[in-house]
């Protein structure tokens, strides 16, 4: 989807005659219709429920967006390669449960591994990233070497990871129960706060997400790997002829995405506090929706970090708003599905008009 661009919009209007102006405005409105709709919905919700954009609510929206940001940034890479990643949510769940089991407080009655001392936070962080990277490597290797569609590959790994997660939850004293009783140092590292906004503390993981955004922006825009990713997504044959190692690029994109899921799992673990097999369920769908809303095209080779950020935040605002209106959570799935469908239709339309 196109981002709202004032410069292009008013620049285009100045140079066009009356008939062209009408056509231009029409095209602009339909290309940005979902954004316009979402902004109008946010204004309407704020009028109906004035607490919606109060400071605690804004910090809540910010926190929820930050928690989902790394997974969306990871999936965006897979979408740029004309693929997708259905295993993301389950990787988040597995990493969250593994992190929780390794960072339970000493002396907690239901500790999963009673004889294991609480590990250093950074060791577990590295383990979380490594788990994500390994699954990402499998996804990328099967996609690149066997020329399988990422949809099939990641559907398989989704089930494999879920099976491993269920087996993991049966290990030790746990017997399939939720894992809680996290070490206070870990909870403080993620949920603690060093800054408040209007008296509402901003959790630390918001800052971690901002750092992750900067790193991803750098990788996408300032490295050869980032440029190769867009080249492969746009036209793999042309990229190959130009000397880009297509297979290595695909594998690297999936490994990077896996690391992002690992980071999401590590953050979610402490944010939720009590982790079960359901942790991370359907997270990939929210992330895919955010990417499509943010202009990462399924046609391939198109997408920007700022678009992903905008997609994640807009989607979160609208769903917090729907909760404010008291709309049934089941109905929110229907709304989410419709938003994805409309975003895809706009994405397809833009490609056809260009063609």
């Amino acid at each position: 989807m196109n981002r709202f661009n004032f410069k292009n919009f008013f620049g285009g209007l100045k140079t066009a005659d009356k008939e062209e102006k009408k056509k231009f405005i029409g095209e602009f409105l339909i290309n940005n219709s979902l954004y316009i709709f979402l902004v109008l919905a946010i204004i309407a919700i704020e009028i109906i429920s004035p607490m919606f954009l109060s400071m605690p609510s804004v910090v809540n929206i910010l926190s929820l967006s930050a928690a989902n940001m790394p997974i969306a940034l990871g999936i965006a890479g897979a979408i740029v390669l004309t693929g997708t990643d259905l295993s993301a949510g389950r990787i988040v769940g597995l990493v969250a449960c593994v992190s929780a089991s390794l960072l339970q407080a000493n002396g907690y009655p239901n500790k999963m591994f009673p004889d294991l001392p609480t590990l250093p936070i950074f060791t577990v962080l590295l383990a979380a990233m490594a788990i994500g990277a390994v699954v990402g490597l499998v996804n990328g290797f099967c996609t690149a070497k066997f020329k399988l569609h990422p949809f099939i590959v990641t559907l398989s790994t989704q089930l494999i990871v879920y099976g491993i997660l269920l087996m993991y939850l049966m290990i030790g004293n746990n017997n399939g129960q939720s894992i809680s009783g996290l070490d206070t140092a870990y909870s403080g590292f993620i949920n603690g706060s060093i800054l408040s906004l209007g008296g509402t503390p901003i959790p630390n993981f918001v800052w971690y997400s901002i750092v992750i955004i900067f790193i991803m922006w750098f990788i996408w825009n300032k490295t050869t790997f980032g440029k190769n990713m867009f080249a492969v997504g746009s036209n793999p044959d042309a990229a190959n002829v130009s000397g880009v190692n297509v297979n290595r690029t695909i594998i690297s994109v999936f490994i990077l995405a896996g690391i992002m899921y690992g980071l999401t799992g590590f953050i979610e673990c402490a944010r939720i506090g009590s982790n079960t097999a359901a942790t991370g369920l359907n997270y990939e769908l929210d992330a895919i929706a955010a990417c499509v809303i943010g202009g990462v095209s399924f046609v391939g080779g198109i997408g920007k970090i700022r678009g992903v950020i905008m997609g994640v935040v807009l989607l979160r605002i609208i769903f917090v708003g729907l909760t404010f209106l008291g709309i049934d959570s089941n109905m929110q799935y229907v709304i989410k599905g419709l938003i994805i469908l409309i975003a895809c239709a706009i994405d397809m339309r833009k490609y056809l008009v260009r063609k």
Partner: protein
């Protein structure tokens, strides 16, 4: 550009799909109207 003419996608996740711009416009507008109706009706019911 003929909006009614069907065009086929030759790349990406939509590869093979054949649809016209006019049909996509209908999907977008109808989708937004359905979305708006669902939100308004659900909010009134809540």
């Amino acid at each position: 550009m003929n909006k009614k003419e069907k065009k086929t996608f030759d790349k990406g996740l939509y590869k093979g799909a054949s649809i016209s711009v006019k049909a996509l416009d209908t999907i977008i507008i109808a989708g937004l109207l359905i979305l708006a109706s669902i939100i308004v009706l659900s909010a009134l019911q809540a």
